[in-house]
């Protein structure tokens, strides 16, 4: 089939190698800067939207789930199944409802970031020692103040670890959105492949994704340092 066409007797691609096709080309980046920025912006929008929406849904879910072992067990079971569904299938399932729109990609990405975050939020909340909670209650803390002043700070490292993991994996997953034409930088990867295997465009998209994931991780690590000043003081 396709592979049979591709592997000519020589064993390599003849058509694609006939013209010079460098792996990296600075002139491509400078000439298509506007296009790259547009796709980058879409990529960032989808990633931020998915992680923020995922966190907003995951926090109440984790708070409810920790109340009983039965609920926690079912939340984890469902999240394991969602984890296992490949992204291509996930976007394809949503497609009949939302069509070729960015919403299809966003809903899929929210589902994935949601299951990462709910697991980590639950780990963080269950990791708060019972003695500490008991002591706070003995000092007259109500449930709301207990959450804000005691549980949230103690669970923060696990929360932030979840956010970093969700952000990095969402950046990578967004590329599969090319299936419905909204893959952010994935559009460059896919577009380059369809434009007669244009390597410079593909590499630009791929490197952009890795850099974006790196920036997201570093930014969230910075936020983690800012919101947990006590961890720094302990180390110093």
């Amino acid at each position: 089939m396709l592979s049979a066409v591709a592997s000519a007797p020589g064993g390599t691609l003849s058509a694609a190698d006939a013209a010079p096709n460098p792996w990296f080309d600075p002139s491509y980046v400078s000439e298509n800067w506007d296009t790259i920025l547009r796709y980058l912006a879409e990529h960032v929008r989808l990633t931020v939207g998915a992680v923020v929406l995922g966190a907003l849904i995951a926090l109440p879910l984790a708070l409810v789930a920790r109340r009983s072992r039965y609920l926690a067990g079912s939340v984890l079971a469902v999240s394991t199944i969602v984890y296992t569904i490949p992204s291509l299938a996930m976007f394809a399932f949503i497609f009949p409802f939302t069509g070729l729109s960015a919403a299809t990609v966003l809903i899929g990405l929210v589902a994935y970031s949601l299951v990462i975050l709910v697991r980590n939020f639950l780990t963080g909340l269950l990791g708060v020692p019972d003695d500490v909670r008991e002591a706070a209650r003995g000092m007259g803390y109500g449930p709301v103040r207990l959450f804000w002043r005691i549980e949230l700070p103690l669970a923060l490292p696990a929360f932030m670890a979840g956010l970093r993991m969700a952000a990095v994996s969402t950046v990578a997953l967004t590329t599969v959105g090319v299936l419905v034409g909204h893959g952010g930088l994935g559009q460059l990867i896919f577009g380059g492949f369809n434009a007669n295997f244009y390597r410079a465009e593909i590499v630009t998209g791929a490197v952009g994704c890795v850099l974006l994931a790196l920036v997201a991780d570093v930014l969230l690590a910075g936020v983690e340092r800012l919101v947990t000043p006590w961890a720094r003081a302990g180390r110093g």
């Binding site: 490949p86 394809a92 697991r119 990095v168 990578a172 590329t175 295997f197 790196l214 991780d217």
Partner: protein, 244 residues
């Protein structure tokens, strides 16, 4: 919901399974690519992980490899191999998937072997075991739960990612989804997605059963009754637990 109805109709037609380029042929292709990729990654990563874990060196490198690999989109790597001189098709797909299967096997096996109690290892040495006997009869059995977790992660990841290969000219079940988009056939899209999702969940189940069967000592199926303490509810640490 008519798309889901059409998908059932498509899946119920035996001809769609048995014809040339039908579901069975694509499934065979999908599985062949996945098995070769996982085996190749195992042959490359497992000895390295055991050697590093037993000597206690190279931990930082393993962590860096496993973290960086998470940031590289699978689609990007599949595309890069497809436009390399290898040429697109099943060979490029298999190589790209092998690259993706290496980090989970490497990281989990390394952590497993590294985490073996030094006292146990010393006791084995004192009983007269040679270095290779210690690895085979002490390190590996004790590290087996994590080694199997790595193998499971890698296998599920490969089976799931193989479906993306269809976007860049590869084979496997992803073809159905791609063809469905090309033909504006919603039923075909959903049918392909169902097959891919079921295959991934099935692979996970098989690997869970396999790890249960080979792990020595007291063992419980993950869905069997848990102990009463809250610690059992805390999610298990997944070395590469990210969606694909």
């Amino acid at each position: 919901m008519s798309a889901f109805g059409e998908a059932i109709v498509y899946l119920n037609d035996p001809f769609n399974w048995t014809r040339r380029g039908g579901i069975l042929e694509l499934l065979g292709e999908h599985l062949a690519i996945s098995v070769v990729a996982v085996l190749a990654a195992w042959v490359i990563a497992f000895p390295v992980a055991v050697a590093l874990g037993a000597s206690g060196r190279g931990g930082a490198a393993v962590v860096v490899v496993s973290n960086v690999s998470r940031a590289v989109p699978t689609l990007a790597l599949l595309t890069l191999f497809a436009v390399s001189p290898i040429g697109f098709g099943n060979r490029a797909t298999t190589i790209a998937l092998t690259v993706f299967a290496i980090p989970p096997i490497l990281a989990n096996s390394y952590v497993g072997v590294r985490g073996v109690d030094a006292d146990v290892r010393e006791a084995a040495r004192a009983m007269g075991m040679t270095r290779s006997q210690v690895i085979r009869r002490v390190d590996l059995p004790l590290a087996l739960p994590l080694i199997m977790a790595g193998l499971r992660t890698a296998t599920v990841q490969v089976v799931a990612t193989a479906s993306l290969a269809a976007l860049v000219g590869g084979g496997g079940l992803g073809r159905l989804v791609r063809l469905g988009f090309g033909q504006q056939d919603y039923g075909l899209i959903i049918a392909g997605a169902l097959l891919i999702a079921v295959l991934a969940v099935f692979t996970e189940l098989v690997l869970v059963l396999l790890s249960w069967a080979v792990t020595p000592g007291p063992r419980r199926l993950p869905w069997a009754g848990r102990r009463a303490d809250t610690a059992a509810v805390v999610p298990e640490p997944t070395a590469a637990g990210v969606p694909l």
